[in-house]
Amino acid sequence: MSETILSIRNLTANVDDTPILKGVNLEINAGEVHAIMGRNGSGKSTLSKIIAGHPDYEVTGGEIIYQGESILDKEPNERANSGIFLAFQYPLAIPGVSNLDFMRVAYNAKRKYQGLEEIDTFDFEDLIEEKLEVVKMNPSFLERSLNEGFSGGEKKRNEILQMALLDPTLTILDEIDSGLDIDALRIVSDGVNQLKTPEKGYLVITHYQRLLDYIEPDIIHVMKDGEIITSGGKELALELESRGYDFLDDKSTAGVGV
């Protein structure tokens, strides 16, 4: 049996005292790609932010175990440095912060956490040049302010570039497909697929089945109203695509396929 990377047990969470997750269970093993689908407001993006440690959400019960350790008490930066990476649905643009400097600071934060020496500007530039190839990004993007004036596709490629650089153990892609045309979607998914290895775990959050043609999941979960209501194989995505999310309204319990 392969190693468990992430284990979420009975997770409940509030935002501003309103329950938003109502008992989520999820287990991701090394080498597995899990997808979470669901309508807007079903709680799927919330789940990704909670795993990354967003301070706006209050965990009211349950556990998140990452590589055998509870991370609920850990700061977002500790989670990141220990190998959890969240690719944002809406990556923030920060004028005045150079993309290159930002990535160097992030990379060095991780090295420091691992007890390694920080690397200098020149070595870092060589390193990042290699990674640019993964998402076919023009080096000129590094000189610009972080995500400022980037198109939707460029922002998402920049997220995958960060993923390539930080080499996470658990990658969470939060609606990485939103706002992408088909070419950008292909570049982004190719990037993710190139980085895939059997030691790592992946959680892909999406509204549409389309993304799953490019990043193939092993298991698909459907979230509704703060819970995973059903899980299954690839055929579940196709069923959702053809019948819409409405057919789930009639289902009372989980258990298609698996």
Binding site: A52, G53, H54, P55, D56, E75, P76, N77, R79, A80, N81, F85, L86, F88, P91, L92, I94, P95, G96, V97, F102, V105, A106, A109, K110, Y113, S145, Q162, L166
Partner: protein, 439 residues
């Protein structure tokens, strides 16, 4: 209705009664006037003296001073000094041969060196100015010369530094003036004074720097005259000590097709006030005013600017940014006047404030007065905090909270710092801000 541009005027002064302001009189008595100065200069000083006798230190009842309190200043007794120590001044790269340093108001030959400047630009004391330059036409003749602190400087100031660029002279090396005050043993009063004249087609870069230790009061005045098609790139760096007071005036008079840019960086002083006042007197004139103020602890930092556009096709851009933390207080008032004759004006003004603490205070008052009917003018002000979502984004990439905050503060400041002329200066300021904000 004609636009009233609120530069201090003679009539405002002469119509007032004679008052005896103890603080001003006390300061003036400290000032030793050089006996060797020419008659015209004595006359100018005498006139300023007579204005001063009718003026008093402004209070919160004066509209332009209502956000700040000068009572700590006026209750302190200051003396002028002949001490010339200058410990710990670390000179900036690239201005080794174009630098004049003043310590407690006195020219310091040891630290100064202007051998790197061409002879087509005069840099030196007014008393040594060669005959071919007519300083009388300019000195203390700028708009607003009648205002109280400017009058005090004119009446009592001793060293006037003249920077005069001849016709079509282009000097790329920044001309660097450093005013260091040491108020460790006594509360010192200094009155730096500069007269800058850019003749037709000339182009110079000017770096004015204030720094010091201990308690003191700097009352600085800089007059800048730009002839046709002249350019001045002006950096004003205020890094005064934590217990000092600094009041400064920069009066700029521009003829047609001239370009003036100021980047002011205000980091120090317990109480700081700067009044940049621009008068565009010719067509197609451009004035850019950029400012960055960082105020922490109990600092008060106030910039009150005036830009008056009086001829067609003028252009002005202003971006003033403030970072305010602890219990500090920043003030911005930017007045832009567009007179009836100033058609086709293009004016923008923006004040952005970043508040780092709930106890900090920001007062902002952008003002536009337009009489012309075919102009493009925009102004605005924003007040914000560090964005929680931005901090989370950075932390989700492994930065700890301090580093994330620092990166965002640096980014806010960078928009102004990037406009400074020397890379060594940009690095120095970025580093200073980092230390100031994280303390």
């Amino acid at each position: 209705m004609a636009v009233q541009i609120p530069f201090a005027t003679i009539s405002q002064v002469t119509e007032s009664a004679v008052v005896e302001d103890i603080f001003l009189t006390g300061l003036l008595q400290q000032c030793q006037i050089d006996k060797n100065q020419p008659q015209w200069l004595r006359d100018v000083r005498q006139q300023a003296n007579s204005w001063l006798s009718r003026l008093s230190v402004p209070t919160r009842k004066d509209e332009d001073w209502r956000f700040i309190d000068l009572s700590d200043l006026t209750q302190t007794k200051f003396v002028t000094s002949s001490v010339m120590r200058a410990n710990g001044y670390s000179p900036l790269e690239k201005t080794e041969n174009s630098r004049m340093v003043f310590v407690n108001g006195i020219y310091n030959t040891e630290f100064s060196n202007i051998n790197g400047l061409p002879k087509e630009v005069y840099v030196g004391d007014l008393n040594n100015l060669p005959q071919e330059y007519d300083a009388k036409e300019y000195f203390a003749q700028c708009h607003g010369a009648q205002d109280v602190f400017t009058s005090l400087n004119t009446a009592g100031g001793n060293n006037v530094t003249v920077i005069w660029a001849n016709k079509n002279t282009i000097v790329e090396t920044p001309i660097h003036l450093v005013f260091i005050t040491d108020g460790e043993s006594e509360s010192i009063f200094t009155q730096p004074r500069m007269l800058v004249v850019g003749e037709t087609g000339s182009s110079i870069s000017l770096l004015e720097e204030y720094t010091g230790v201990g308690e003191y009061f700097t009352n600085a005045v800089t007059e800048v005259y730009l002839k046709e098609n002249a350019r001045v790139n002006h950096t004003r760096l205020q890094e005064e000590s934590k217990s000092s007071y600094h009041i400064g005036k920069t009066a700029i008079s521009q003829e047609r097709d001239s370009h003036y840019t100021i980047n002011e960086i205000n980091l120090g002083a317990k109480l700081f006030r700067h009044n940049p006042e621009v008068l565009q007197q010719g067509e197609q004139t451009e004035s850019n005013l950029n400012g960055l103020t960082i105020a922490m602890e109990e600092q008060t930092s106030d910039t009150h600017s005036i830009v008056a556009l009086t001829k067609p096709c003028g252009n002005t851009n202003q971006l003033h940014k403030c970072i305010v933390g602890d219990r500090a207080h920043t003030v911005f008032n930017g007045k832009v006047f567009v007179t009836k004759e100033a058609q086709m004006t293009d004016a923008t003004q923006l004040n952005r404030n970043l508040m780092l603490s709930p106890k900090a205070r920001v007062d902002t008052k952008p003002e536009l007065q337009i009489t012309a009917d075919n102009v493009k003018c925009a102004h605005g002000a924003t007040v914000s905090q560090l964005e929680a979502d931005e901090i989370f984004y950075l932390r989700s990439r492994g930065l700890d909270e301090n580093d994330a905050n620092q990166l965002l503060i640096d980014a806010f400041a960078a928009e102004i710092i990037d406009r400074l002329p020397l890379e060594s200066l940009q690095t120095k300021i970025t580093e200073t801000i980092k230390q100031k904000v994280s303390n």
